[in-house]
């Protein structure tokens, strides 16, 4: 049974450092888009998604340091307290790094709900720090961003996989 369900794994080409930088830069760009209203509520945290992806797939290259620095950049972009996003992202990166071997066993679709849980943890930390700073509870729709992030996970991870897929069919000798 275990073998039957085991996803077909292909040997991917090594990740270039530029791909990681580019994806994180694009994620930052997507997070900074000037949106408002419903779209803003539903807009997932792309940086959190990209950090999760790289922590799961390239744990030796992207870790908590990257997450922390991206968090600081996001704090400036979001005009929030310096260190708020950094805290949330580094804890998310920690959870992803702890579970990265287990998560890689699953296919992209089965990974999504688990990545969603980590996103939820990150948002809860943001909420907690916000509440400790004296803010009001922003309402339950705050967590909808995690839900859209979960739905986007399969799409995003297959998109990032494209540059890494083998050039030719490996079965042909």
């Amino acid at each position: 049974m275990a073998f039957a369900n085991y996803p077909k794994q292909e040997i991917l080409r090594p990740v270039k450092g530029s791909l990681i930088v580019l994806s994180l830069g694009l994620a930052l760009l997507l997070n900074l888009l000037p949106l408002k209203g419903v779209v803003l509520t539903l807009w997932p945290d792309f940086i959190a998604l990209m950090i999760l992806y790289w922590c799961i797939n390239q744990p030796q290259r992207v870790g908590m340091t990257t997450a922390f620095v991206m968090g600081l950049l996001m704090d400036i972009g979001d005009a929030s307290t310096f260190g708020q996003h950094a805290l949330a992202y580094s804890i998310m990166a920690f959870v992803a790094l702890v579970f990265h071997r287990r998560l890689r066993v699953f296919g992209v679709l089965k990974q999504a709900p688990q990545a969603g849980l980590i996103l939820l943890v990150g948002q809860s930390i943001l909420l907690l720090t916000g509440l400790l700073d004296g803010s009001q509870f922003p309402g339950w729709d705050f967590f909808l961003a995690s839900a859209t992030g979960t739905f986007l996970w399969p799409l995003l991870s297959s998109l990032v996989r494209i540059p890494r897929s083998p050039k030719s069919d490996s079965d042909v000798l």
Binding site: L33, P34, M64, I76, G77, A79, S80, G83, I91
Partner: protein
């Protein structure tokens, strides 16, 4: 592959790294929220992120210009017609006339508004942060354009907020709806002075500490009183939308709606400062206990 695979990775364990980063971020948060000495660090990060912020606003800018193009093609005639209609309506309104006291007030208001517009800088909203905990917007003018923290930001209808942080090419505006923001106001109808505070929710302000029997009505317009020396007097701030007078409480619960519509415009006006910014009052208070201690020592 450029790098040799690392089979045995040295360095601190995951948990140790987590503890380090958690402590570091907690220290940063404390330093930023309470001590306010991270100005230079923030500036450095802001410079890194600035090109991305600019780039991120490009799609909406393109959308706006395209939209404007089509709208202007179709609606030029209608626009002219409406403008004429507006002029006629205005004349009729003036003929109708309101109460003389109200008129005088309004005229005063208009005067101040006109005087201030000449000293204003136009800025565009670059983006609205997705952070639901604080009400802020980022404007595309910064210290290079002479923007200083403390300047007032208005739109065509009323006060939007105040500049709280400036970067070389950007500035952060704390909206009047932010939970930590208050504006000294005056009721137009009877001149009652109070302070209107943000609630942290969009489109909601409140007047705190007004006695239950205070003379205030729903629909009252609140304008800046100007007694603070920061906000110029007479700028519309909010309209009283709901009053709950419960005799079992000392204070009435007064909710107001901001006059300015932040979500509807991209352009805002930054007014120049009336008086130079005063020193941070928090620091002034914090230095007082030290003096007392010294005095005590002196007595001994």
């Amino acid at each position: 592959m450029e790098m040799a695979p690392q089979f045995f990775r040295h360095g601190p364990s995951l948990l140790a790294r987590l503890v380090f980063f958690v402590l570091l971020s907690l220290a940063l948060m404390a330093a930023d929220a309470r001590l306010k000495f991270l100005f230079e660090v923030r500036q450095a990060f802001a410079v890194v992120i600035y090109p991305l912020q600019r780039l991120a606003s490009v799609p909406t800018a393109i959308y706006d210009t395209i939209n404007e193009f089509f709208v202007s093609q179709h609606l030029t005639d209608e626009n002219m017609h409406l403008q004429q209609q507006r002029l006629i309506d205005r004349g009729q309104l003036q003929q109708l006339g309101a109460l003389q006291a109200e008129n005088a007030h309004l005229r005063k208001l208009l005067e101040t508004a006109q005087r201030l517009e000449s000293k204003a800088i136009m800025a565009e909203i670059l983006h609205v942060p997705r952070d639901p905990f604080n009400r802020k917007v980022i404007l595309d003018k910064g210290s290079q354009s002479g923007i200083q923290p403390g300047q007032i930001v208005v739109d065509d209808v009323g006060v939007v907020g105040q500049i709280t942080r400036n970067y070389p090419w950007l500035s952060e505006v704390t909206l009047i709806t932010d939970k930590d923001h208050s504006v000294p106001v005056q009721v137009i109808r009877n001149g009652l002075r109070s302070v209107v505070s943000g609630t942290g929710k969009d489109g909601m302000l409140e007047l705190r500490y007004l006695a239950v029997n205070t003379d205030i009505q729903e629909g009252d317009t609140l304008v800046t009183s100007g007694i603070d020396g920061v906000y110029p007097p007479g700028l519309p701030v909010a309209v009283v939308s709901k009053i709950e007078r419960n005799p079992s409480y000392v204070f009435a619960h007064v909710t107001c709606t901001p006059a300015a519509a932040v979500g509807h415009h991209r352009q805002l006006l930054i007014l120049s400062l009336l008086t130079p910014v005063t020193e941070n009052p928090v620091e002034a208070i914090e230095t007082k206990p030290e003096r007392k201690k010294r005095e005590k020592v002196g007595i001994r």
